[in-house]
């Protein structure tokens, strides 16, 4: 009996000697490259995000014609005293007009561990109906190989569409059903700096609440200033006759 027990244990122990073919290796002699766009959510497990969004319609400068997005490119491994070129591929699944997008040179300057890929988007009519989407994937060349498994690829979305923000549902009782005209006016009224309130939970000094960082709950006693501005918004649509898309055959926009 003892013999069988020993044999079983030996089998279990020896199975641990199996080679892990999937194990990631870091070759100190090699230089790796990856997208390093910082994640604003510092609590998230991933330090870098894998997608970027920009909307011309959400920009405080309503007349903006172009937007440059700076994408940090980070190097894993040693730096070099020479400028090094990296390679990336714009994947076929991307959807964009080539004449409206410009890329900067894909270069990691000498002695740098981080450099920037600048992508400039021209505002176009088409963006009002269809987002421009780029899928960029880093490729290997003589200087670098793609590193950091989760950040070898990045998605960049740019549009000119005033989408319903995530917070709208929370505030629906006061803003009514989503209308881009209401949202546009709210952006003008409740800009960063209008509401001096400190953070409700941390008491961090304001201003912090504005149209793109709305309080997480719609309680008037918690966020009285936000409600003050909702009154201003409501009054605007009382004083001004605004129709969806300017179409006077539709019902005039008013807040509840």
């Amino acid at each position: 009996m003892k013999r069988y027990i020993l044999l079983f244990c030996a089998t279990v122990i020896l199975s641990a000697c199996n080679k892990n073919d999937n194990m990631l290796q870091f070759d100190a002699a090699q230089s790796y490259i990856y997208f390093a766009y910082p994640n604003a959510n510092t609590r998230a497990a991933e330090k870098y995000i894998d997608s970027i969004y920009y909307g011309f319609a959400l920009d405080a400068d309503l007349q903006r014609k172009e937007k440059t997005i700076a994408v940090p490119i980070a190097v894993g491994g040693e730096s070099s005293s020479n400028n090094r070129t990296y390679a990336y591929i714009v994947e076929d699944s991307s959807s964009y007009e080539p004449n409206t997008v410009k890329f900067s040179s894909p270069v990691i300057n000498a002695n740098n561990f981080v450099d920037t890929l600048f992508i400039t988007f021209q505002r176009s009519i088409k963006m009002k109906t269809k987002p421009t989407v780029l899928y960029l994937r880093l490729a290997g060349n003589n200087e670098f190989v793609p590193g950091n498994l989760y950040n070898q690829k990045i998605k960049v979305v740019v549009d000119d569409i005033l989408n319903e923000p995530k917070w709208w549902n929370t505030w629906k009782n006061y803003f009514g059903p989503y209308q881009k005209e209401i949202f546009q006016q709210w952006m003008q009224i409740y800009y960063l700096g209008a509401d001096p309130s400190p953070d409700l939970t941390t008491a961090a000094p304001g201003p912090i609440y504005y149209w793109n960082n709305m309080p997480t709950s719609a309680y008037a006693s918690w966020y009285p200033v936000t409600f003050n501005y909702i009154q201003v918004l409501k009054q605007y649509f009382i004083d001004h006759q605004v129709y969806p898309d300017g179409d006077i055959t539709k019902e005039r926009i008013q807040l509840p």
Binding site: S197, Y219, A220, P224
Partner: protein, 489 residues
């Protein structure tokens, strides 16, 4: 049973049998000198052992120390006082100048008996506060209408009104309107500070909210605080704070505004077709329910206005203006004097009017659906005096009307308006009563004597016994308003 087990059992049995030995009680007891500390605040909870000390004042604590054997002989005792963990005295009595820092700091008194080496300790807190954290506050104006704030501290030994200057604010402004306030409580009923609201008509910041702990402005309201933008000018004519909430009500160009968290909201009923205008004293003092219900007296249209927010969570955003309330005509032709929210029995508004020499009191009742139902007359009576009626207000806490005329304050139950004499100033008091308030068991009365160099006098009564406790005659400029925010020991 083998020998080994027997040995174990025998060993355990010996241990057990030892416990049966008889206790002979022949211990050698000796009485030890037990130290008792008295004459200091004695409370099992730390909040009951706090000495309130104004900054820069001196703390003198003279405890009584006695021993169960040594009696009052303290020659064998070593004393040590520690304040904020620093030894400040090696004597029995503490003499400490509170000029290090603000806040609650610990104080420890250790008594060590040299004969036994035992130490007995007492712990308490010294709460080093601004002397004006609690007191009687007075808002005044000089002949040039410049506003000043005075305070008679209720915690310093000195009994005089000091002018209080606000850091960060050079001058308060001109044409002061009012001072009001609420209390912010901490861990106990005695652990509070005042949140004061000052209204000045012509000022860089016409409304200033002050934290009395360090007497610094915490909120400043001016034209740029208005959420509606445009060419709004904030020059209020009435300012009052809610009694229970951190909300300030202001009347600007006759319109009603709510001030919260540093912003001035749009006026209530901004597009009112009848262009309402709130009369002086015409905001029904809310008793914590202002977020839902509000009533004002509209002097443009000579009628009471009743508003609510639809009893929703959208606080202070009044959307209903009730025009067709039965009984409204009862007030026609009468002169408005005062109004207030009331809780008699639950939701009401109460109004006082005058016609010729007769007073009329009305109540607005609400239905079960929280909608205003009808006005009714509560009572009528002759004006109690031939003197000119001055300040009139309804005290919601006690449901009583108060009215000043000359040097006398009259009082009436809400049930009627049979005003009775409540208090009369001493015959040598100069000037007529301009303002008075009853709070924390005190009645504070202000008079102005225009002929005097310092027109303002203050009289403080015990509101329970009606005994005059303090009279400060001709000590300050012309008094505009007053407020009580005192610590009652």
């Amino acid at each position: 049973m083998n020998l080994k087990n027997l040995t174990y059992i025998l060993f355990l049995a010996i241990l057990l049998f030892e416990g049966c030995s008889k206790d002979l009680g022949n211990y050698d007891y000796k009485d030890v000198n037990t130290i008792a500390i008295a004459g200091l605040l004695d409370n099992s909870h730390p909040t009951g052992r706090i000495y309130e000390v104004p900054f820069n004042d001196t703390v003198r604590l003279n405890p009584t120390v006695s021993g169960s054997l040594s009696g009052n002989d303290t020659s064998a005792l070593i004393f040590e006082w520690k304040v904020d963990s620093v030894t400040v005295s090696k004597t029995k009595n503490l003499f400490y100048v509170a000029n290090k820092r603000y806040g609650k700091i610990s104080a420890e008194f250790h008594v060590t008996d040299k004969s036994t080496g035992t130490t007995t300790s007492y712990n308490c807190f010294l709460n080093i506060v601004n002397p004006y954290k609690w007191g009687y506050y007075v808002l005044t104006q000089n002949k040039a209408k410049d506003a000043s704030l005075y305070c008679l501290s209720s915690i310093t030994k000195k009994s005089s009104f000091d002018q209080v200057l606000l850091s960060k604010l050079d001058k308060l402004g001109k044409n002061p309107l009012s001072i009001s306030g609420t209390k912010k409580y901490g861990a106990s009923s005695s652990d509070f500070y005042n949140v004061l609201t000052i209204g000045i008509q012509d000022a860089v910041n016409p409304v200033v909210v002050i934290d009395s702990r360090e007497f610094v402005p915490t909120l400043l309201y001016n034209s740029s605080s208005y959420v509606g933008g445009g060419d709004f000018v904030f020059r209020p004519t009435q300012v009052q704070t809610d009694l229970y909430n951190e909300v300030v009500y202001a009347v600007n160009k006759g319109k009603f505004h709510v001030l919260r968290k540093g912003t001035i909201a749009l006026p209530a009923f901004i597009n009112d077709p009848t262009d309402y205008k709130i009369a002086p004293n015409g905001v029904a003092t809310p008793l914590g329910n202002g977020s839902y219900f509000m009533s004002i007296y509209d002097e443009n249209n000579k009628r009471v206005r009743v508003w609510d927010n639809g009893v929703t969570g959208n606080e202070y955003a009044y959307v209903n203006d009730y025009k067709e309330i039965s009984g409204q005509e009862l007030m026609n032709g009468k002169t408005f004097l005062a109004c207030s929210y009331a809780n008699i029995p639950s939701i009401n508004h109460i109004y006082l009017f005058r016609q010729d020499n007769q007073l009329y009191s009305y109540r607005l009742d609400y239905g079960a659906d929280y909608k205003p139902k009808a006005f009714s007359q509560l009572g009528t009576a002759a004006v109690p005096t031939s003197s000119q009626i001055g300040y009139v207000y309804f005290d919601g806490r006690t449901s009583r009307w108060y009215m000043a005329a000359g040097k006398t304050i009259y009082m009436a139950s809400y049930l009627g308006v049979e005003f009775q004499k409540y208090v009369q100033l001493p015959s040598d008091a100069s000037g007529n009563i301009v303002k008075f308030k009853i709070l924390d068991g005190k009645l504070m009365i202000a008079t102005n004597d225009p002929a005097a160099d310092k027109p303002g006098s203050i009289y403080i009564y015990n509101a329970n016994t009606m005994v005059l406790e303090q009279a400060h005659k001709h000590v300050i400029d012309e008094i505009v308003d007053l407020h009580l925010g005192i610590l009652v020991e």
